[in-house]
């Protein structure tokens, strides 16, 4: 259906994981960032799709993933409440300045989710009304869920300004 509507995009539809039973497969489509808003609007409004809810929005850093070509995969998990079906949409971005258009204009619920992905992965969402860090503090520079960020941090906690009774 998507392929018929946008014949010029290579969606490369595939299940997230191949299953023995077809009905258990979770379908995933790939969309280039420059066409994302157009495709998402279609998915939201078209009567055959009706994806009214953005169930989740997350990102994966495919730095050392087997056979991965792009680095950041932003994953939109769409849900249709009336139709009861789901679709995963992947949109890839790369260094040095990973960017993906924001979908806040389509689903209001994308607001904090996009802020979280910006905070954790450093993927910028163009057109986001208020793209601040959400879980870490504003002065924090790294993006901790990137694969090249060490588990125990880079000493940010140790370098934090220490307030003692005398200096306060």
């Amino acid at each position: 259906m998507l392929i018929a509507k946008f014949p010029d995009i290579d969606f490369a539809p595939h299940p997230l994981m191949t299953r023995a039973e077809k009905s258990h497969e979770q379908l995933c489509a790939r969309v280039p960032p420059e066409r994302l808003l157009e495709v998402m609007r279609f998915l939201r409004t078209d009567d055959r799709c009706n994806f009214e809810q953005l169930c989740d929005l997350t990102c994966i850093d495919y730095l050392n993933f087997p056979k991965a070509r792009d680095r950041y995969g932003v994953i939109y998990s769409l849900l249709s409440i009336t139709k009861g079906h789901r679709l995963w949409v992947k949109c890839f971005a790369n260094d040095p300045s990973p960017q993906v258009p924001s979908v806040v204009s389509i689903w209001k619920g994308a607001n904090w989710l996009e802020r979280e992905v910006w905070d954790m992965f450093g993927v910028r969402f163009t057109g986001h009304p208020d793209l601040r860090r959400i879980l870490t503090w504003e002065a924090f520079e790294a993006h901790p869920l990137r694969k090249d960020y060490p588990l125990r941090g880079r000493g940010e906690r140790e370098d934090f300004e220490r307030i003692t009774r005398e200096s306060a």
Binding site: L16, M17, T18, R19, A20, Q26, C28, E52, Q53, L54, C55, D56, T58, I60, D61, N64, F65, P66, I75, S77, I81, G84, W88, W107, K108, G109, N111, W112, L113, E116, M120, P129, D130, R132, R133, I134, L135, T136, W137, P144, L145, Y149, L151
Partner: protein, 421 residues
């Protein structure tokens, strides 16, 4: 939702001033405030007692759970999920391993499915009891807080009996459970459902449902319409209180909520999904009460006939740890045990990605797993219901009085550990 730039600052937190100067007050609520239950911070702008704007700052409890998931294996991470929504840790355990089993393509044994369904419903009751109790407490009714805690205490005892811990349960494992239930446990669960829960719900109803103070402080407060609830991504009792017909137990059935769960044609458990079109705090309270009643019904259908048989899938699948009796007294058991715990072995999931979600007390708790075939997941994404439900909070409170902020907050049952992860 405010979209203007956050230009003003108050105590280190930025917010968007509605109109500078004048008679506008700025009030900081949180991060350490009894009514926020945990660490949340709101910067409120007030004119008199009326809320003009609300800016939310979260992240005070961020613990990097998703990063930790990339360094712990599929069984170890269950300990971290306890700490997410610590009000109903069992539900998180089940949701986590549901996602793992979706990734591995494992089918559980009937006995395991029944036990998991029972404890998932117990966890739902546990969570709703706390939420309803706190809704009473925050509005000044201390009795309504203590009564449900009696019943919660019984649930904690039930959990302690099967897994040894009251709060941080970590009861599930890939393909099964930590250990089987005790023989007398089903009878105790049944006694809980027939003797403890009906009077507990009855007490709550008598204390709150027609209590004039409670009704006046919750009715019409924090209203969200059906379409907005969907657009903001709401799930669970909050969405159902706004009239959204959605329950994963019915729409994407798993465990004993699905037909033919034991492979012998058993039908799914019978229950109703309560829905209200009130959309306010009072409707959320009523939905939670009704859901507890339905949960009791589900447990009673299952507690009598828990099928016999193993709780874990067979150790030959190389996905579960064999029990200690086999490890100590048989060579095959020992080999299977080593296959699981040696650092260069362990789980061998297929390469790919999977999403598994459960209907927990707060809404859809899902885990999106990416696996590169190694012993630990490549990426663990938790879809936290609190986080997604909470983001429209400013929209719910603007225009209300300051005391209503507390009513809305307690009606939403925000758990900061899950919010910030």
């Amino acid at each position: 939702m405010t979209t203007s730039p956050l230009t003003a600052e108050y105590g280190g937190a930025t917010y968007a001033p509605v109109e500078p100067g004048g008679d506008v007050w700025v009030l900081n609520l949180g991060p350490q405030h009894p009514a926020t239950h945990t660490t949340l911070r709101h910067v409120l702008e007030l004119r008199g007692e009326r809320v003009l704007s609300c800016t939310v700052h979260i992240g005070y409890l961020h613990s990097g759970f998703e990063k930790l998931g990339e360094h712990l294996n599929y069984n170890q991470y269950v300990v971290v999920t306890d700490r997410m929504n610590y009000v109903s840790p069992m539900a998180n355990n089940i949701a986590w391993h549901h996602a793992c089993e979706t990734l591995f393509g494992l089918e559980l044994t009937p006995r395991c499915k029944v036990i998991r369904t029972i404890i998932a419903e117990l966890a739902r009751i546990q969570d709703h009891l706390l939420c309803v109790g706190c809704a009473g407490l925050d509005l000044g009714g201390f009795t309504a807080f203590m009564y449900p805690f009696n019943a919660r205490e019984t649930i904690n005892d039930l959990f302690e009996e099967i897994c040894g811990a009251r709060f941080t349960t970590s009861y599930t494992r890939v393909g099964g459970l930590m250990q089987d239930i005790t023989p007398q446990w089903p009878a105790k669960v049944k006694r809980f459902c027939t003797e403890v829960m009906p009077p507990a719900i009855g007490d709550l109803e008598k204390l709150l449902t027609r209590n004039r103070i409670f009704v006046e402080r919750t009715k019409g407060i924090g209203y969200l319409s059906h379409d907005d609830a969907i657009n903001w991504g709401w799930t669970g009792p909050l969405a159902r209180a706004s009239g959204v017909r959605r329950d994963l137990r019915k729409d994407e059935p798993y465990l004993c909520y699905a037909d033919n769960w034991d492979g012998k044609g058993s039908s799914a458990v019978q229950f109703k999904v309560p829905i209200s079109d009130g959309g306010d705090c009072y409707a959320r309270y009523l939905i939670r009460l009704a859901e507890m009643r339905e949960s009791v019904k589900i447990i009673l259908q299952l507690a009598d006939n828990i099928p016999d048989g193993p709780v874990d899938v067979l150790p030959e699948s190389k996905q579960t740890l064999p029990n200690k009796g086999e490890v100590y007294f048989s060579i095959e058991g020992l080999i299977h045990h080593f296959e699981q715990i040696m650092t260069n072995r362990g789980h061998q999931p297929p390469i790919g990605e999977a999403y598994g979600a459960n209907e927990t007390a707060n809404g859809e708790l899902g885990f999106y797993l990416a696996s590169d075939g190694g012993n630990t997941p490549y990426r663990v994404r938790c879809r936290p219901p609190s986080f997604i439900n909470y983001q429209c909070f400013p929209e719910l409170v603007v225009g209300h009085q300051i005391s209503d902020v507390v009513a809305v907050l307690s009606g939403m049952n925000i758990i900061a550990a899950e919010l910030d992860r």
